[in-house]
Amino acid sequence: MEEHQAITLARSGDQRAIAWLVGQYQHMVYTVTHRVLRNEMDAEEATQDTFVKAVQGLHAFQGGSRFSTWLYSVAYRAAISRLRQRRSEDRSLDEVEGHPGEPRTEAQASTTDRSRALEHALSQLAPEDAAVMTFRYLHEMSVEEIVTATGLTASNVKVKLHRSRKKMLEVLHDHLKEEVWTLWTE
């Protein structure tokens, strides 16, 4: 099944087409929500919210951008909305556990594994910035597409990318001890 065909069929309520779209995008959407929320349960909920909103609002997707960009914008907003909700709840409740969005300590992330290093570097960023970096370097979205997905201004996106890149390269340099990361941080 091709994407445009699945979208057309999903608009008319075709369950197979909807299942196909969910199957195609669940990991990418989950990645966005998890990098914003940094909590599996919240990320799952936000991913579910994303697909429910996307399927219900599929008629609003006119094909002016890539479907993935449109879907990620729904995911980003769902995750940010849940993050704000959680922050307001955190303020009113005494936390029993550590804050799920807290950066990990050095000891927790002392592995040289590249996957863990990336995860650790992302955890040093603000949740919104981690999503922007994921859009740029994992989803390979242009600045214009990130603007569409996040609702931020182009200059804001560029500033976030610049600062986050610098921060991540510093962290990666500390963790991976590779020459390539040094080129930027020196």
């Binding site: 309520g13 369950q15 989950y30 998890h34 799952e44 370097y137 080129l183 941080t185």
Partner: protein, 125 residues
Amino acid sequence: MNPAERALQELFQEVGPEQAPSHLQARILARLAGEAEVRTAPAPLLRRWQWTLFGLAILGSILVALVLPGEASSTGWMALFLDRLPDMSGISGTLRTTFIGGTLITGILYALDALLHHRMGPARV
């Protein structure tokens, strides 16, 4: 793109997207099915034929109400029919207003019911 930025992109690509839990797709589809169920409009309380029957009964009543005051001018089968009815000439004005009002309200309610049913329609999830 400088080498460090390229290395950053390669690292993102190498690690790839996070793996959603294996049960997530099933949960999403179940939730979508649940939303579809909730969004399914219930059938109208009264079927179309029931509304028609109801409307006809009221229209018939109005006709009767309209001819009630003209007792003297009634002829033929109508006069025979009216003779069997109780004398309601004293309250005919009230009855006429009630029947016409009732018909109007019935019509409005029927239109509203049909409109709501049409707008909600079957689930399109």
